[in-house]
């Protein structure tokens, strides 16, 4: 990936970022601080303007792109945020987890942690709305709904790093 830089006298600076063989992202940084983004689809084509940003907004977007503004956390679980503090999380049950071999009723997940299991993915099949007698096995992926804290605690339990209390 090559970045070409050119001076635009009286305007500012131009950066061209190679996205692939043909396409280039063109970023104009004006002396006024305004940023304009263009996309040139192929050599010889006119650049199409995508959007412009103020200096402040551009910096914020820049840090988000850099990963500095919001650090995505890589875990073994995937989650979807429903509201500030409510997640749907996919957690894989490891070999040594206290949950393996218990039924949902026995695991008392809802009472102990405050998470409800809404589905269990087992290999290719998905058991939606599992009843309390469904057994949890190692290698299952539990789809649970709960608060952020509860989901964090569950992560430790499925990994076998924590016992179920209660």
């Amino acid at each position: 990936m090559t970045v070409y830089e050119a001076d635009l006298p009286g305007v500012g600076k131009k950066f061209e970022v190679e996205l692939d063989d043909e396409t280039r992202l063109v970023i104009i940084i004006h002396n006024t601080g305004k940023r304009e983004l263009f996309l040139r689809r192929e050599e010889g084509a006119d650049a199409e303007k995508l959007f412009e940003l103020t200096d402040r907004l551009a910096r914020q977007v820049g840090t988000i792109m850099e990963g500095a503004y919001f650090q995505p956390i890589r875990t073994d679980s995937i989650d979807t945020v429903l509201a500030d503090d409510t997640l749907i999380e996919w957690s894989k049950v490891q070999e040594g987890s206290p949950l393996a071999g218990r039924t949902l009723a026995e695991s008392r997940l809802r009472q102990a942690l405050g998470v409800s299991v809404i589905a269990i993915q087992r290999g290719e099949e998905t058991l939606t709305n599992p009843d309390p007698e469904t057994e949890i096995r190692a290698e299952d992926t539990l789809v649970v709904l709960g608060s952020r804290d509860a989901c964090r605690k569950l992560d430790d339990v499925v990994a076998g790093d924590a016992e179920l209390d209660g």
């Binding site: 001076d7 635009l8 009286g10 305007v11 131009k14 002396n31 304009e36 040139r40 650049a47 303007k49």
Partner: protein, 395 residues
């Protein structure tokens, strides 16, 4: 020169603001509209129908002069020696072609209508220099700024900007020094000496310029920058050198310092206000009847100097920047617009009190010429791609 009241100045800014709003509404450049607004409210138009006109007072003239000073200061500020050296080959060739094609044509036009050598030299400058402000803005508005055609245009403008600084130096020495090329040797000497001192200061005084503006307070920073610029320009004018050129050199002195961005950020609003008054003042001092009287010359100049810019721009794009025919046509259309510098040249000779041609005909002609060329140039840019179809080698 009349006494100027605060009410008049208020009215003046209100009219300028209205003209600016109108330009934004119509999506055209503000420069022609400021001029037109000035014409509409001056003694010859509004005064003629018995309404209170805005008079050309001492205050307005001084603010307009500040406009010239800051326009050129910014030119110097954005001018970097490094860039000139970097793009030397192509930029010099592009600039030389542009000058060789357009300047002599303007001079020939002046000689053709029976003007003196000095007068023709002025006309050459007026038709040679394209408008950096309008062209740069059009480039951004049309989105060409991200395309390869922006490079030859901006490079040519950089070359022109440097050429015009030297041209103004010579011209002011000639015109302010008595109006004929022979009698001006003394004043040319003075002017050159002063400019050399400035140039030496610019070349050697990086550290000095750097230190001068190294203050924490924004207020002090602005005051210092304005003080040195206006003072040097004033000294220049007092000893018969163009204030515009002096301001250009001061700008150039700051161009290599770390303060460039801060200067641009803080002084742009100031420049815009003063420059708007300058364009308005040009209109204010223009008698439309005089402009009408130059109609024949105007038509001739438009007919001749539009194609010359189209050609020089096209050749620049094609030959030196390796662009395809369509983009080269765009470069040509982009260079047609003439603006602030043509007016600065006209204002310089108008105030020098030379021949009738210098004092009346040329300023009136320049106003008409800039009005036509700024509108025509913007239109040509918008329809560049349709024009390109008539050029061999385009799809």
């Amino acid at each position: 020169m009349a006494e100027t009241s605060l009410l008049e100045i208020g009215a003046m800014f209100a009219v300028i603001a209205l003209a600016g709003a109108g330009a934004h509404r119509l999506g055209v450049s503000v420069i022609p509209l400021y001029i037109v607004a000035g014409i509409l409210v001056n003694d010859a138009v509004l005064g003629a129908v018995g309404l209170p006109a805005i008079r050309d007072g001492e205050f307005v003239t001084i603010v307009a002069e500040l406009g010239i000073v800051f326009l050129l200061f910014f030119l110097g500020l954005e001018f970097s020696i490094d860039r000139l050296i970097e793009g030397r080959d192509r930029m010099t060739r592009a600039g030389a072609l542009d000058a060789a094609l357009n300047f002599p044509v303007g001079m020939a036009l002046g000689l053709l209508v029976g003007w003196s050598l000095t007068e023709a030299f002025v006309l050459g400058g007026i038709v040679y220099i394209s408008s950096s402000a309008v062209i740069t803005k059009s480039l951004i508005d049309l989105g060409w700024i991200a395309n390869p055609e922006s490079e030859p245009m901006l490079s040519t403008l950089v070359f022109e900007d440097l050429a015009i600084a030297f041209y103004l130096a010579v011209l002011s020495a000639v015109v302010l020094g008595g109006g004929d090329l022979m009698g001006a040797v003394m004043s040319v000497g003075t002017a050159m000496a002063f400019l050399l001192v400035l140039l030496a200061g610019v070349a050697r005084g990086d550290a000095l310029f750097e230190r001068y503006l190294a203050v924490d307070s924004t207020e002090l920073f602005i005051l210092r920058a304005v003080a040195v610029t206006v003072l040097v320009a004033g000294v220049a004018l007092a000893i018969g050198v163009s204030e515009a050129v002096a301001a250009f050199f001061v700008g150039m002195g700051f161009s290599e310092t770390a303060h460039v961005e801060k200067l641009e950020r803080l002084l742009v609003p100031l420049r815009d206000v003063f420059a708007a008054v300058f364009f308005f003042w040009i209109g204010l001092t223009t008698d439309p009847r005089l402009v009408a009287a130059t109609a024949a010359l105007l038509a001739l100049a438009v007919a001749v100097t539009t194609p010359t810019k189209l050609l020089s721009g096209y050749l620049t794009g094609r030959r030196y920047y390796g662009l395809d025919a369509t983009r080269s046509v765009r470069v040509g259309t982009g260079m047609v617009t003439r603006g602030e510098f043509s007016l600065i040249i006209a204002a310089l000779v108008a105030g020098a009190g030379g021949s009738a041609v210098l004092a009346e005909t040329i300023p009136a002609f320049a106003v008409g010429y800039v009005l036509v060329m700024s509108v025509l140039g913007t239109l040509l840019m918008q329809y560049a791609d349709s024009l390109a179809r008539f050029v061999p080698g385009t799809e």
